[in-house]
Amino acid sequence: MVAVRPNAVRVVIVGAGPAGIRAAQTLVAAGVKPVVIDEGARAGGQIYRRPPPAFKRRAEALYGSEASKAVDLHAVFDGMVASGTIDYLPATSVLSHAENVLHALTPAGRREIGYDRLIIATGATDRVAPVPGWQAPGVYSLGAAQIALKAQGVALGRSIVLAGSGPLLTFVAYQLLEAGAGVVAVLDTSGLRNQLAGLFGMLSRPRLVLRGLAMRARLGKLYHAGVTITGIDTDSTGPVAIRWCDAGGKARETACDMVALGWHLRAETQLAALAGCRFDYDADWLQWLPRADRMGRAGGNLYLAGDGLRILGADGAEIAGRLAACACLSDMDLPAPDSAGDLRRLARCERFARAMARAFPWPAQMVRQLPDETVVCRCEGVTAAGLREGAALGGTEVNRVKSLARVGMGRCQGRFCQLAAAEIIAADAAIDPAEAGRLRDQAPVRPLPIGAWIRDA
């Protein structure tokens, strides 16, 4: 066998969050110089997002108990950039993909980036359910509330209601309170009984459970479990109140000027799909996820890591990043570190994450019962009625409904409406959301200013 020279092969990593950074580090340790493309101005991803250089808060204030992990990841990445052991393209969006070439938009214009092997670590966004009134200015995702606080030092309102379910709900509420923001209610659609049922599975990571419970205790009477959100009342400037039913079914109303919504995360899978990945519907995370082996091999020269593959959170993403790089190295016949320990740790993260997904579920019932006039697609104002009419006319397949009702055709390309749309279609047809199918991905995966595209970087 002819020995492969590590740098004869071009490995490209998309994403510089915890998965992308660990993948790069693992490749560099084996003598490979990867290209790292990241949309962020500074590496770190979303959960370890860094404020601009002029900011002064310490890591402990930004990342709490995870500060040492954040500091380490940032230092590892900055070290690789400083030593020239990676090619780093910040503020660069990969928009399309064809025949082993990525089409990217850099600050200077368009650029084509060829590769021999590709590691996609594009993470996730909030999984959001529509609520009547959510199209108003001043309604945000939970992740947005956290990014505003972490990366800009601001709260997005004076009287803040956080609503949804999942670990981020309690975490963001806690962080906002600690920073002195005006949080007036934390509304969890998961009931306490449901949460307790998931606790057993979550005990695979007992420290995380204890930390979560401590943060929950800090929320005190602001926190309500088992609620149903009925709607957001708005005036021309934004929310004025949120209407909800408590666990006992009593109608309640909370005055506010900002609402943040989020039910766990939704994997960012557009690039994986354009690269030819197959998808399976996951019964715990209740969404379509790309198919890959335990190491992240998705077929051919493609590897996946992090929340864009399986929603395990930041710790799981670090492990998955290392594993994908190891798979890549061994497929190139280069020596790779032993992965047995990481595979065990990944399995533990997955047991925990799946239990968490069951304890804090997607609010299927709430979405199925949305009134006809509710906006489902925020981009183009498509209502539940429009969606239901589309399905009645053309059948339940989501891509057909998209072509008739335009849901998923707006600027976000269905990122924030597709799961709710499938749920509503499925409810009317009495089928499982998985049977409605998966929305096909289209390039460019971000809107593309045509003036920028005609400039070659």
Binding site: S93, T125, P137, S141, G143, I147, V154, R158, R411
Partner: protein, 108 residues
């Protein structure tokens, strides 16, 4: 406009909680001179003096961003020269001239 309003403690949507010791950056919004802080995104700067960045093309409401991580495309804002910026992922630059409505002569 009072000092507090200019720095976003009153007129706008957001509340500055920390990192107030930054140099000021001037920009123009709808023909009015405004000030924000170095390191602000365009979204932060605009929402510190206003409650939204644009009108929705498909509904009666205004828009003020949604995901803040470049995924939802809710926060595109016009510049006076007719180009648009994604406000959450663009940093404010001294002298930017922004408008919350489309410049004259542009189709929505």
């Amino acid at each position: 406009m009072t000092q507090a309003q200019r720095h976003g403690q009153g007129a706008g949507r957001l509340v500055r909680l920390s990192e107030l010791e930054r140099p000021h950056v001037g920009f123009c919004l709808d023909g009015t001179d405004c000030e924000a802080l170095a390191g602000d995104t365009v979204l932060t700067a605009v929402l510190s003096v206003r409650t939204s960045v644009r009108r929705s093309e498909f509904g009666p409401e205004n828009r003020a961003g949604f995901c803040l991580m470049g995924a939802c495309q809710d926060c595109w804002i016009w510049q006076e020269d007719g180009t648009r910026l994604r406000a959450c992922s663009t940093h404010l630059v001294e002298g930017m001239r922004l408008t919350t409505t489309e410049p004259e002569g542009w189709l929505r």
